[in-house]
């Protein structure tokens, strides 16, 4: 499956799960800030990706859980070095450049882009192959 084909399937999933238009789903679009995803949508997207690609997604594999509530990982509203390492370890499909520049907890959600989702699926498909 080519990256373009993966993108097309991811777009179809997001259009269905978030009731957005095709052209809103660009690689740079942020799921939460731009496409309006809420927490239950992440579970919905996870279910729909499983159906579209035939792989299984474990709890917390797609998007971090608990990290931003842990005082060891977040201090004074900012993600600590340890927190950043934890996130990077758990979520290799994300690009952390923007979070490295602005460590605010509120910025964690912004790393969740359409492109990250395509990366995630590409990695899952490679592992399965």
């Amino acid at each position: 499956m080519t990256r373009d084909e993966i993108f097309d399937s991811v777009r179809e999933v997001l259009v269905d799960a978030l009731a957005v238009d095709d052209d809103e789903v660009t690689p740079e679009a942020k799921l939460i800030a731009d496409l309006g995803a809420e927490s239950i949508d992440i579970l919905d997207i996870s279910f729909k990706l499983e159906q579209a690609f035939g792989f299984k997604i474990a709890q917390g594999e797609l998007f971090p859980e608990g990290v931003t509530q842990d005082p060891e990982f977040v201090e004074g509203g900012k993600v600590t070095d340890k927190g950043l390492e934890e996130l990077k370890g758990r979520l290799p499909h994300f690009d952390f450049t923007s979070l490295e520049a602005d460590r605010s907890v509120g910025n964690v959600a912004n790393i969740f882009t359409v492109d990250a989702l395509v990366d995630f699926c590409e990695r899952k498909l490679q592992t399965a192959a």
């Binding site: 239950i40 579970l43 919905d44 279910f47």
Partner: protein, 173 residues
């Protein structure tokens, strides 16, 4: 009035499918306001479509709750799709069929078909599909990051237990 929008469970395949029925009755107070007579039309009692969606939510919610023996607090989290093409009126029976599409510790997604059975020519007609409602449910205790909820299961209360018991569905201990 009890917030019960299904009358009876008629089929249950655990973790897979649940079918429930509801008789639309003129005794339901809201039908007299939905819609009352106006100067240019007589009273037109029609079951509100939002309550048909609720009926499917209860059907699918019981299916999802039953899967974990009603230990989880199962709440409706998202109406993924709701399409209805025909009105239900007093005397009609609605038949809700819910199936589980995906389910994890966090929640479940369900697909639902709504059929209408109407008396025509003195006999009940064949069920005909009038809509589809797809839903997402969340297992509350697994999703709220430490938020405390009451110990008792406030989602599946006594009214639902009565419904299941009177439908002959075994309630897990």
């Amino acid at each position: 009035m009890r917030w019960m929008w299904i009358d009876r469970v008629v089929e249950l395949i655990p973790r897979e499918k649940l079918v429930a029925i509801k008789g639309v009755s003129l005794a339901e107070e809201h039908l007299h306001d939905h819609f009352p007579a106006t100067s240019d039309r007589p009273a037109t009692p029609i079951m509100p479509m939002s309550l048909i969606v609720e009926g499917m939510a209860q059907t699918a919610g019981v299916l999802v709750g039953h899967a974990e023996a009603f230990r989880e607090k199962v709440v409706l989290a998202k109406v993924s799709k709701a399409e209805l093409s025909e009105d239900a009126v007093p005397g009609d029976q609605l038949r809700y069929t819910a199936t589980i599409e995906s389910m994890t510790d966090m929640g479940a997604s369900t697909k639902g078909v709504i059929e209408l059975i109407r008396y025509e020519g003195g006999a009940p007609g064949e069920p005909r599909e009038i809509g589809r409602v797809d839903l997402m449910f969340s297992h509350l205790d697994n999703n709220m990051g430490g938020v405390e909820f009451p110990e008792h299961n406030f989602v599946f209360g006594e009214s639902f237990r009565t419904l299941l018991r009177s439908s002959g569905v075994e309630i897990p201990a």
